[in-house]
């Protein structure tokens, strides 16, 4: 009975996606859309399964994942550290806020040619791009999250003899955690998008390059595969963070 209820709930939350995929599948199968231009979802899925054992594709995937995860790790740790400590210091409103106000609305991808010049076409320039793109959501979320911490908590801890550093780790950081995890969710999706685009704009290797290669040979199925894979990575990482937040932040 509960099984059936859960099934209904899942269906309710995803039936429009299933409907869309079914319409897409039917459109190609019935010949309304030429398969060369719009391959059926089932064909793309089968190609994905085949690529999962293809060494070349796995190479592209691991290159992209390496760039994504190193970029995200740097962006999130640096952003959270800067944000939480700036929230406790007078430098926050003085220096960090104006800096963020200037830098965060800039289209960061436009700096990518500069990174290519300075750091070459390898992984480094792409990791730098992921870092400057993904750092702002993490930084802002940590900053505003830590600023919103009840000041009385900090005062009483300080009065009880806790050191400023201990205050950051034991009060500001845990209290800002829900906000930080929201920032991390945004950072993850931005990171996935940006790493893929960097590989498309200046193709060298990686999933984005795999898509460009497929486009050059008009292989539409293989054009879809890298796109679906990177979207799936973003979706699953985001899902994981939501799960972590729900279990960790239940107070």
């Amino acid at each position: 009975m509960t099984m059936a209820l859960a099934m209904v709930a899942v269906l309710k939350r995803s039936y429009s996606i299933l409907l869309l995929l079914a319409a897409w599948e039917a459109a190609t199968r019935l010949g309304y859309a030429p398969a060369a231009l719009l391959p059926a979802p089932s064909v793309v899925l089968l190609a994905m399964a085949r690529d999962a054992t293809n060494a070349h594709f796995l190479g592209d995937l691991s290159v992209t994942m390496f760039r994504l995860f190193s970029g995200l790790a740097i962006a999130i740790s640096l952003g959270v550290a800067l944000g939480v400590s700036a929230a406790q210091s007078r430098l926050g409103p003085m220096l960090l806020e104006p800096l963020v106000r200037v830098l965060s609305p800039l289209p960061k991808i436009v700096f990518f040619p500069a990174f290519l010049l300075l750091f070459g076409f390898g992984s480094f320039s792409r990791v730098v791009l992921v870092v400057i793109d993904a750092i702002f959501p993490a930084l802002l979320a940590a900053y505003y999250g830590a600023r919103a911490v009840d000041e009385k908590l900090i005062w009483s801890a300080r009065a009880a003899g806790m050191s400023p550093t201990a205050c950051i780790f034991r009060i500001a950081l845990p209290a800002a955690l829900p906000s930080i995890l929201t920032g991390v969710r945004i950072a993850i999706v931005i990171g996935c998008v940006v790493v893929f685009l960097s590989e498309m704009v200046a193709p060298e290797d990686g999933l984005g390059d795999a898509m460009i290669r497929a486009a050059r040979s008009f292989d539409t199925v293989q054009m879809f595969v890298p796109l679906v894979v990177i979207s799936l990575v973003g979706f699953l990482l985001d899902f994981a963070v939501v799960r972590i937040r729900n279990t960790m932040v239940n107070w």
């Binding site: 309710k12 939350r13 995803s14 039936y15 429009s16 996606i17 869309l20 231009l37 719009l38 806020e97 104006p98 800096l99 106000r101 200037v102 965060s104 609305p105 800039l106 289209p107 960061k108 991808i109 436009v110 700096f111 040619p113 500069a114 290519l116 010049l117 300075l118 702002f136 959501p137 930084l139 802002l140 979320a141 505003y144 906000s179 929201t182 920032g183 945004i186 999706v189 931005i190 996935c192 998008v193 893929f196 685009l197 498309m200 704009v201 984005g208 898509m211 460009i212 486009a215 008009f218 539409t220 054009m223 879809f224 796109l227 990177i230 979207s231 990575v233 973003g234 979706f235 985001d238």
Partner: protein, 266 residues
Amino acid sequence: MNTMPRYVANLRQALAPIAVAAGLLLLWQGAALLVRTSYLPPMTDILPLAVNLVASREIFPDLFATLARLFVGLSIGLAIGIPLGLVSGRNRAVEDFVAPLLGMLYPVPKAALMPIVMLWFGAGDLSKVLIIVLTVSLPLVYHAQQGARAVDEKLIWSAQAIGCSPLRRLMLVILPASLPEILIGARVAMVIGVIVTITSEMIVRQSGLGNYLFTALDMGQYALTYAVILIVAALGFALDWAFERIRRQLTLWAPDRQGVDIAVTS
């Protein structure tokens, strides 16, 4: 709390970004003089080039191509996204249908659809505008939905009681009440609109600032590359600044919100 006179605070607020920008440019100049490589030309070479690109109107065709795509894409996105969001914020059935689709599209790199969409609609403006519309619609739908859901029920009941039709309720009650949230969505939409426009021009290089940028890079004109970067960065900042002023004026009555919403813009 704050003893500063208001005009001093306002002045500081206005001058801080300028000071920050000047500081960053100075930092650049110092680094360039220190390193001395053609890959990192000094600001004293880049700035005059950037000014000249604008003064001589050389950048204008590409600038206008970019702005035109952005403007058309944003307008269509607003026309589709806001009504869709408002309706799905008030209607469970519509929300159950729309929300999963949004969730599915959210992590997809939209500009990366360019090579696929090009197969269907060619390499021209239609493909690019289509991708801009798709990108900017997502935050608009999301924020309009959040806004419509949070509308005070009493307002809607009163409108119902005086015999307001559903369409009039949507236009005269729900839309104005959701405006602060909608405008936050519009700000996000504009900033990511700039990003996706320029990125799509980088991927399919025909015209526009993204194309100009990579043409300069491919020809090895590094100072010019940086000059275009500067212009696009200034454009991104100026558009956001102008929009933020309009938004404040339109929603003076609503409590100001700050926080992660701004972060979504990057």
